[in-house]
Symmetry: C2
Subunit: 414 residues, 2 copies
């Protein structure tokens, strides 16, 4: 495939992670190396909506040092969005708008960083541009603490979230058992449909400082079975630690907070969860008559760049850089993915058709979960442990994080 | 004063911190250097109750390397306790028991690590032993994330908690403002009566990534005034971040969760708080009709040794070591305290009579809080910033904390 000259548009989408800006740095630094092919490098404000609104920045005007600092800056520095493109056969107004912008700014490379919904956006945009004969390479850059994208061994963002969850769980474990009296601690971890991140609490358990019981959304949640599990644990130990996914559901399809109240939904119709630990801990306190504490890791687990996994930061960066290289080499309508090699931990970067990725969810294999459905097996530990290695690259100034400061020179609205 | 020969008993009391074991390491390593004076070094299981139960360990049998690792191990490794000694004039049974144990094991040095309540325990024990003519040096080692002990510039444990609160607040700040739609984030921070730790969110604000509004228990909390504050902030910005102490009370003396429900009390009659952020965020969501999120930092803020302040770890260690030296030099019925020097940050270690410390609470000075009672002035920043400097000393193995493992060789129950 011959090289395609033009400009590059990059956007960040969905819930941020500790390393999503590391992928952005990878895209930007790589793209800026090829001014003969990629004339301008644009960063969209708030993803696809920023593109449609002609709201994007000229990344070529940023300081090189600030782009480097993005590797230690959590959250989406460009701004993120949750916006669902319509089915183009029913309503193509968004697509026409995008096409106008792409033509106006000669966008020939569109790289988009996100999870399942964002890969669907990529695929729709790619297929539309192809249909109307506009030559543009579209590559999805994976991102999600949920780790639920298919077509890749794991997702940038997961390793850092898993490192925070497992480290904090170990520290809370020690803190929660200093008194004579026992206590039940319930830690609530993010993960809408897949239990990858909740399962990372098992990394703490395998070190001897973690949950006795781990409940993933991969199994139906049965409050009665949890009671039995807790009873059994209390016979051996006055303390019990439980890790639970915000996404566990009863066999009737109810989330835990739905058992006692209302739950809101977001723009994609996804239920906004939270409150699971609180509901369960109050239930356990009542049933067992001992002290309980609910801990919701909330936003902390996805933005704790101070404790990012070095492996994750580097892989997120490479995912961005390799996406640019793949697009320049002719790849389109694909997502950049990781394939794990045999032997000591190492990965190859591969491209996967978006068709095979979008809107699918990869779950924790049943055979990695123990028979009782309340813990993980060694297979999971072997999978996840390499992903949390290495230290954060966060710069520190006055004992506090020194985040990247982008100038955000407006390049749209010409 | 001549040197007093005998054994040393050390205990940990009250809520743990990220560096309480660093003080223990300081006590142990220093005491073990003087076998000619201090024959045996004992560590009490669960503080004063462990002493009374003859439940304590022979620290001389621990590996030197594991004692070093205590500087990166959060929580109370020996076990902690919340136990209130009676007034000895009304009931001296606990004191008689202690005296028997002290005689039986020739305890001539009693060092006790804790906050206000623990300093009261120290003082009572010291005065009783003095009254009955048993020669024993009693020294309190300060500890509390609340930072509310008088007689010392600041308390070991505070700097690390403040570093966690301010760093996480900065990271959450970025994470919480990635979308087009605004959001109100309410972060709840520990501190029963004093706002020192909640105020540390101002360190994030002074870097440009922190709360717009900070409410401390030093001022009466007025929900109507908060509504005005939020309204004013929303006129300038679609996002609002609020830091609130779990201990704020209305002018009628009610904690926020008490406005909507029940609150439990602990062994000291202190109310067990939590839920403040949740109540306020639900109220704000209703009143302003915008998205809100409640984040309770819970146990994380006091056990995050992975993000401990290097200054705090070192000072906590020195507080332990200097307490041993002070006791050997003849000090008793005192607490070890820090006096800040003029000029660039540095401290002297001093001893303060327990009489002047016990049961008092040092609050954030009114003149360090802004006029409106919703933020901190530069005086607070200048005070707190030096205390969060320097990195954690936590050892890492397989990408996870490597905690100290004590053998805990039982030395009591002879």
């Amino acid at each position: 495939m011959t090289s395609l000259k033009g400009n590059l548009m990059f956007g960040q989408s969905g819930g941020p992670t500790a390393v999503i800006n590391s992928s952005a740095a990878g895209v930007f630094e790589e793209a800026l190396k090829h001014p003969d092919v990629i004339g301008k490098v644009y960063g969209a404000a708030h993803g696809i909506v920023g593109v449609m609104n002609e709201d994007f920045y000229d990344i070529g005007q940023e300081d090189a040092n600030e782009l480097k600092l993005m590797q230690g800056t959590p959250s989406s520095l460009l701004g993120s969005v949750r916006y669902k493109l319509s089915d183009p056969d029913k309503d193509d107004s968004d697509y026409k708008k995008l096409l106008d912008i792409f033509r106006k700014y000669d966008i020939r490379y569109f790289l988009y960083n996100g999870g399942n919904d964002s890969m669907d956006t990529c695929d729709k945009v790619s297929k539309y541009l192809d249909k109307v004969g506009y030559d543009c390479r579209v590559v999805g850059v994976p991102k999600t603490i949920d780790n639920d994208l298919v077509g890749t061994d794991h997702c940038p963002g997961f390793g850092s979230a898993a490192k925070f969850v497992s480290t904090m769980t170990m520290e809370v474990f020690l803190d929660s058992r200093v008194y004579y009296d026992g206590m039940i601690v319930v830690i609530e971890i993010m993960g809408r449909h897949a239990g990858w991140l909740t399962a990372s609490a098992a990394l703490a358990s395998c070190k001897g400082y973690g949950p006795d019981l781990i409940y993933l959304p991969e199994s139906d949640f049965d409050p009665e079975r949890m009671m039995d599990d807790v009873s059994t644990t209390l016979q051996k130990n006055k303390n019990v630690m439980i890790a639970v996914s915000e996404g566990v559901k009863t066999k009737d399809g109810l989330f835990i907070p739905e058992l006692v109240g209302e739950v809101k939904t977001d723009a994609f119709g996804h239920k906004q969860l939270g409150g699971t630990a609180m509901v369960l801990s109050e239930y356990l306190a009542r049933e067992f008559g001992i002290k309980t504490r609910a801990i919701e890791l909330s936003l902390l687990q996805r933005c704790a760049a101070h404790l990012a996994s070095g492996v994750d930061v580097e892989e997120a960066y490479q995912a961005g850089a390799e996406s640019v290289k793949a697009a320049m080499a002719g790849a389109s309508d694909v997502m950049l993915g990781f394939r794990r090699k045999d032997g000591p931990y190492a990965i190859d970067m591969v491209t996967v058709a978006l068709e095979e990725v979008k809107n699918f969810e990869k779950k924790v294999p049943r055979e990695w979960i123990n028979e009782a459905g309340n813990g993980l097996k060694q297979e999971y530990i072997d999978y996840a442990m390499p992903l949390i290695q290495g230290a954060s690259k966060q710069a520190v100034e006055d004992g506090l994080p020194r985040f990247a400061r982008l100038k955000k020179v407006q390049a749209g609205r010409k």
